[in-house]
Structure formats: C-alpha cells, structure tokens
Amino acid sequence: MNWEVIIKWLPRLAEGAMLTLELVGIAVIAGLILAIPLGIARSSKHWYVRAVPYGYIFFFRGTPLLVQLFLVYYGLAQFDAVRQGPLWPYLRDAYWCAILTMTLHTAAYIAEILRGAIQAVPPGEVEAARALGMSRWQTMLYIILPRAARIGLPAYSNEVILMLKASALASTVTLLELTGMARTIIARTYLPVEIFFAAGLFYLGIAYVLVRGFKLLERWLRVDACQGR
C-alpha cells in the first residue's frame, strides 16, 4: 500500500466528497418534500388517488438508478422540444440531471416509507383528534404527520445512507464526485487499489457521521419515548 500517494491526493478526494455530500443533501431533502404529497396520496382510501403514486413508485423502485440517470441525461436530449425548451440549460448539465434523477428516485422510496409510517399511526389517536373537532387536514398536519415522521425516521436514515452510496453513479455522467474523482486520479496514477481504498474510507466516514447524526436526531425528537419504549 502506497500511503504517500493517498496523502498526496487526499485534498482532491475531499473535494469530490464535498460534491457527493452536496448531491445527496439536495436529493434527500428535495425528495422528502416531493414524497410527502406522494406518500399521503399513496395511503389514501380511494383507489384512483392511490393509483398514480403507485405507478410512480413502482417504476422508480423497479428500475436501476443507472437507467433512470441515462434516461434523463442522454434520453431527454433526443426530443427537439426539450432541446429548444426553457429548461435545456439545466437539463444539459450533468449536475442538474444527477440531482433531478436522484431526487425522483429517492422520493419514490421515501414515499413508500411514509406510507408505511402513516398507516402505522395508531387509529385511536386519529379518532381522538377527530373527536376533538379537528378537520381532516388539521388531523393530518398536527397529529398524523408528526407521528409518522417519528415512526419513519429510522427507515429514512437508511434511505439517506443508500442515497450516499447511490450517488457514486453520478460518476457515470461525468460528474467528479468522490467516485468520479477517484477514477480520474487513477487514470493519472495507475494505482486503483490505493485510491479506491481511500475513497472507500471517505464513504465509510461519511456513513458513520450520518448514522451518528440520525441517532442524535432520534433522541432530540424523542422517538423512543413517543413509541412508549
């Protein structure tokens, strides 16, 4: 193992790690915002409300992220309407394509987590809220969603870690995030083992910090106490 090379390229890898964090951060937050209406619709009692988010979730969970990324990055450019449209400056850019795809992808998974969490809210609490005269929307906003957020948080933290690992795919559309940066450095140094090892350590480190962070968040939201544990 050639440690000098690792230390020499550490700053560039850190640069890549920053881009990775940026991609994941934006994707999981935008994905969460997109997933809230999807998840609520998915847990609806009416089949025609459920059908649309179901189709969306089925497509995004049933196909590889790589296919989705290529569909957005290479696929959309096939249509003249897109190339002449107002969004082309963004859709031409690998950065925005990666963010868009990762957001849509993770939103499908988060929506499914949210559905499970909404359905796990004890019916007695919902009935109590309704009995107190809260409207449906008030019940959703003040009772169901805060409760579901705590139930779904552990699964959401899993999803964030999965997205961290999925972000490595952005390197296939020319983005220089952690994996992309590692591949560029290897093209220069011909030392795949050392550089991939260092990149792997970065991922492990980020994942460790995220796991710790979510533990703190769970304690702050008092997830255990809310579930009577």
């Binding site: 590889p64 296919v67 989705q68 096939q78 972000s167 490595a168 795949p192 991939f196 792997g200």
Partner: protein, 231 residues
C-alpha cells in the same frame, strides 16, 4: 407509436440473458458468504464475531459501484502474479467474474444480517433438543436450523435479490455486455437514447415482476404448514 428497435432486439435479448446469469451467479456467491457471515456473527468465538461484523459493516458502508471498480481494476496485478505462478502469464479477471464477485460480496454483507436474524429467531429449545438427541453441532445446523431458517429469511432475501438485480446494471460500467451496455451500443448507432433506455427500463421492470412472482411461490412453499396470524 411504433417501437422500432433498429434490429437490436436480439442483442437486447442476449443482454437480458447475461443479466440473469450474472444475477444468479452473484446470488449463489452472496448466499454462501451471507451464511458464513451469519454463522461467524452468531458463533461463540470473539474473533469470528468480529470478522463477521467487520465484513458486513465495511461492505455495507461502501458503494456497490466502488466494489465493482475495485475488484475489476484492483485485482489486475494480483491476477497477473497468480497467473505467472501457475504458468498462465496473461491471466485476468473477466468483467463477468469481477461483477459476480463484487455483487456477491455486497449481497453477502446484507444477507449476513438477514440470516443472523433468522438464526436468532429459531427457538433455543430446538437446538437443545438436537443436543439431547446426540446430534453433532454441524448436524444440528444442517438438519434443524437451516431448513427452518429459510422460511424466516426468505422475504428479506427476496428484497435483497431485487436490489441485486438492479445493481447488475452497474457492471455495464466495466464493459460487460448486459442490458445496459447493449442499450448503450444501440444508442450510439441509432441516436435514440430515450427509446432504448426506456426499453431497458421496462426489461428490468419485467425481471422484477418475474422475481416477485417467483418469490411469492417460494414463500408459499416455505410457509406450508404455518398459519398466518390474523394481524
């Protein structure tokens, strides 16, 4: 809309076959690694516990793509040394072997946790009964624990298999001619990226549905003799 594949239909079919082969190879390796990992993690020996824990933690913390790249590009020197030692100088790992090993390792790390949960879910009394009957430890595992484990582990393994099938797309990055790679080749000549990647997406969807159906039957078979509780 009329779907025109520009004569790339057979190529895509061959790619689909390759994807299935890769997924099955990685699955067999992963199941083996997962079983070994779970045995190590539940064993009474501290070093083995540590080994199993380290394996599943490290592998799960690093992206699958990085494993594929690391195993493909990182073993070139090693394979050459082995090749020279056994008298085959040009020895190298094919993209298929590298992909199967990398995905197998990743699958195994997650399967370790699934199997561990299943082993712990089997009542202690069954093991004690085996001991009382004078069965050896490997025999207890083979005849008592393993057959009962499947039923508990199957839903978790099914989820992992679906993730594995989607992860096979990553092996296109190192040039294996599976669905993604074949679609990319088709795109370069037809200039219709959206059509071909959409076709690829639907092939993956079809494979996922097939896997879901297969799992349903497997779960039904494994669960025969058990009544599902009303809750």
């Amino acid at each position: 809309m009329n779907l025109d594949l520009h004569g790339f239909g057979p190529a895509l079919a061959a790619g689909t076959l390759m994807t299935i082969k890769l997924a099955l190879c990685a699955l067999s390796l992963g199941l083996l690694l997962g079983l070994l990992g779970a045995l190590a993690k539940t064993s009474p020996y501290k070093p083995l516990q540590w080994l199993g824990g380290t394996y599943s933690t490290i592998v799960r913390g690093v992206p699958e793509l990085l494993w594929v790249l690391l195993i493909y590009f990182g073993t070139v020197n090693l394979m050459r040394d082995i090749g020279e030692a056994i008298g085959h100088p040009g020895l190298e790992l094919s993209a298929f072997a590298a992909g199967a090993i990398a995905l197998g390792i990743c699958f195994g790390a997650y399967a370790t946790e699934v199997f561990r949960g299943a082993i712990l879910a089997i009542p202690k009394g069954h093991r004690e009964a085996g001991q009382a009957l004078g069965l050896s430890t490997p025999r207890i595992f083979w005849r008592l624990i393993l057959p009962q484990m499947w039923r508990i582990a199957l839903p978790g393994l099914g989820n992992l298999f679906m993730i594995l099938m989607k992860d096979t797309a990553l092996v296109s990055v190192i040039g294996l001619e599976e669905i993604m790679r074949r679609s990319q080749i088709a795109v370069t000549s037809s200039k219709e990226p959206f059509i071909f990647f959409m076709v690829a997406a639907f092939i993956y969807l079809g494979l996922t549905i097939l896997a879901m159906i297969g799992l349903h039957f497997l779960e039904k078979r494994a669960g025969r003799g058990f009544i599902r509780s009303a809750a």
